[in-house]
């Protein structure tokens, strides 16, 4: 019965047709090195040692900047919808949960920080580090029996916009200093990129926690 209904569904038929087309076309694509060559050639001016970080934070930094903006706008959009319900009170956790968290949270913070820092020379970076920090934040929120007190509204907003703001400031400074919008002076590129990554990691972690919580907290007094 269910199978027959699905077989007749036009959406399913169209998805299958598109999937078939995509498979045929993708299998037929010529081997394509992409931009690996140009990236390798420009690595000596990138300021960082890892090609992925060089692409994300330098060659195509503008994309990453706008992606950070997408994350921030997602939180703002959700905040614009209204206030969130408090998380229902949970039973007080036993000693095992407590002890585990006491070890896990510091480890997550160190791991997150390490991932951000190592991004300049190896796999890692602001998004990975921010995701680990964000997960630690969500875990902390869920394990406490009551709502954790939130930092003041201004601080939340500052933390949320830190990454975009740092990126925009550095990018605009590059424009004014003659390196082009979103350009770094080559000598400072490493330090500027690391600074942006740190700021971005804080914003990304906060974004994830705030997205998990849903609407704005009762303390964010936006529209009295």
């Amino acid at each position: 019965m269910i199978r027959r209904r699905f077989a007749l569904s036009p959406a399913l038929l169209m998805s299958l047709a598109l999937a078939g087309l995509l498979i045929v076309v993708v299998l037929d694509l010529p081997p394509q090195p992409g931009l690996a060559g140009p990236v390798a050639q420009a690595m000596d001016q990138a300021g960082v040692g890892h090609p992925v970080t060089a692409v994300l934070l330098n060659f195509r930094g503008y994309d990453t900047f706008l992606e950070l903006a997408v994350l921030m706008l997602a939180v703002l959009s959700i905040w614009s919808l209204g206030r969130r319900d408090p998380i229902p009170a949970r039973p007080v956790q036993g000693p095992v949960m407590h002890g585990t968290l006491r070890h896990l949270i510091p480890v997550a913070v160190v791991t997150g920080g390490y991932l951000v820092w190592v991004g300049s020379s190896d796999s890692g970076g602001a998004f990975q580090g921010g995701a680990v920090l964000g997960a630690a934040g969500v875990m902390l929120m869920l394990s406490l029996p009551r709502e954790m007190p939130m930092p003041p509204a201004l601080l939340q907003r500052l933390g949320l916009s830190l990454g975009v703001f740092a990126f925009l400031a550095v990018g605009t400074a590059g424009l004014l200093a003659g390196h082009g919008f979103m350009g770094y002076p080559p000598a400072w590129a490493y330090h500027l990129i690391l600074g942006i990554e740190l700021a971005a990691a804080v914003s990304i972690a906060l974004t994830l926690v705030l997205l998990f919580l849903g609407g704005r907290s009762r303390k964010v007094r936006h529209d009295r």
Partner: protein, 484 residues
């Protein structure tokens, strides 16, 4: 002029992204002052956009490599005739919407959020117009979608939330289709730069599929019939400044992107039957939108269905492009004329709705007679939608008809003229209540700005009636796939 030479050395294009983005960030940090950040942004962005258009007109297209990284490695910002015209229209209509919102949103909950989201939307649209990279365009498109959906939901209540959700789903589907196209293009050619892709795209399966996916995705976002069902509830139930921004600007954004792709990336692809298919859908849009606008009983619903109809004309792009390479310019002029006129109509409708406390067409007579400035604005802007002489809409339709005649495409001439008749019918239906005898009642007291801004925009549509030559000459400074 010496000052022009000085200005030519200054890279204006990035500032058109930096300014609204900084405004959006500051408005988010200090929501209590959000309206003033919004106003400041509008006041700074308009002269900047005007200067950029003058610069492009004087010196031709300007390409800027972000961070100094030349494509294919880096991302290019392209300020050419088409981009600077869209920036200018957005800045003009955007400033008008901002001024209107100052009066419309006083002391109302949600006012601050309007400003924050609206500035984000503005920044995202500007970034999209200037981007010269297919993936970067996707990111800007996402920003536009997020901000627009949140703005639709701002009205609160069940109907706007349902409309916003439907809008979100359709937009995401469109974005995904676009992204699949980007992946196919990168997989085929290993570059993301528009010009670089344009130089390489040749007739084969992958770029054909990419072109089809991207075109259909953007069609859904532009609400081309029959993918229009999300538009009337979304545009009709939003607050007036939001409706104006969505109908006048956001719909044009996806049209702009489609035009940009077909001008630079896909000119070498003759998709069989595309021009006839798009022309048929365009005709369906003009007919269906016009008929629904005749049937709708509420003011804002009529205006929203009018957008469905007018989007149809934008898609004459495809038959025109097939007929001869310059055919797109008439369509772009139409997009600008429609943007200004539709913003005026939606803002005037918002004023009447606020004054009367409702927007049921049958009961608006007294308020329309009591608020003559607004009714006058509605009338002039409506005349531009119909295409009556001395308005931008007249020149736009003149150019469309002229293009169709030069190409020998009689059927589109009939469509433009017939669509004009339909538009005439629903615009007279809008204005009808004002001419019935009866008492005049200005309704609720309103800030003066809510009457003057629609009037100013309506007068601007008359100004556009005389702007055909400079606009077309600006559009000749557009980068296309042919290299110039």
């Amino acid at each position: 002029m010496p000052w022009m030479d000085v200005m030519a050395d200054m890279a204006l294009a990035p500032w058109l992204v930096i300014l609204p983005l900084a405004g959006a960030l500051l408005a988010g940090l200090w929501p209590a002052a959000a309206r003033w950040w919004g106003l400041l942004t509008g006041l700074l962005t308009l002269p900047m956009a005007l200067l950029l258009a003058l610069q492009v007109h004087a010196h031709g297209p300007m390409v800027l490599y972000l961070g100094g990284w030349v494509p294919p490695l880096g991302i290019a910002l392209v300020a050419d005739g088409l981009a600077s015209l869209m920036l200018l229209m957005t800045a003009g209509v955007g400033l008008a919407i901002s001024l209107y919102a100052l009066g419309y949103l006083t002391g109302e909950t949600g006012g601050r959020w309007f400003w924050i989201l609206w500035l984000w939307l503005w920044a995202a649209m500007n970034a999209l117009y200037l981007s010269g990279d297919v993936f970067n365009l996707y990111v800007t498109l996402e920003l536009v979608v997020l901000a627009s959906v949140a703005l639709v939901a701002l009205a609160g209540g069940a109907a706007p939330l349902v409309a916003a959700m439907r809008y979100l789903l359709v937009s995401l589907l469109g974005s995904m289709a676009y992204l699949m196209g980007v992946a196919l293009l990168y997989g085929s050619y290993g570059v993301l730069d528009l010009q670089g892709l344009g130089a390489q795209v040749a007739l084969s399966a992958a770029p054909m599929l990419a072109a089809a996916l991207m075109t259909v995705g953007l069609m859904a976002k532009s609400a081309l019939f029959p993918l229009h069902v999300w538009l009337p509830p979304a545009h009709g139930s939003a607050p007036a400044p939001v409706s104006a921004a969505l109908s006048a600007l956001v719909v044009k954004v996806s049209f702009y992107l489609m035009l940009r792709l077909w001008l630079t990336v896909f000119p070498a692809l003759p998709l069989p039957g595309l021009d006839m298919l798009m022309g048929a859908l365009a005709m369906g849009a003009v007919l269906w939108g016009g008929l629904m606008a005749l049937r709708a009983s509420r003011l804002k619903q009529v205006v929203a269905y009018s957008t469905v109809a007018q989007v149809g004309y934008l898609f004459l792009l495809f038959p025109f492009l097939r007929a001869f390479p310059d055919g797109w310019k008439a369509v772009v002029f139409f997009a600008v004329a429609h943007g200004v006129a539709k913003a005026a109509v939606f803002l005037a409708a918002g004023t009447l709705q606020r004054a009367a406390g409702h927007d049921r067409l049958a009961d608006l007579g007294a308020v329309m007679r009591g608020r003559l400035k607004t009714s006058f604005a509605l009338g002039i802007a409506g005349a531009s939608l119909v295409g009556l002489p001395f308005t931008g809409g007249f020149i736009a339709k003149w150019l469309l008809v002229q293009t169709a005649l030069e190409a020998g495409l009689w059927i589109w001439v009939l469509m433009v003229l017939g669509g004009g008749l339909l538009a005439g019918a629903y615009v007279f239906r809008l204005l009808g209540p004002a001419f019935q005898p009866g008492p005049a009642d200005p309704g609720q007291p309103l800030p003066a700005v809510m009457e003057w801004v629609p009037l100013a925009l309506a007068l601007l549509t008359i100004g556009l009636g005389f702007a055909g030559t400079p606009v077309l000459s600006l559009l000749t400074r557009t980068l296309t796939g042919g290299g110039g």
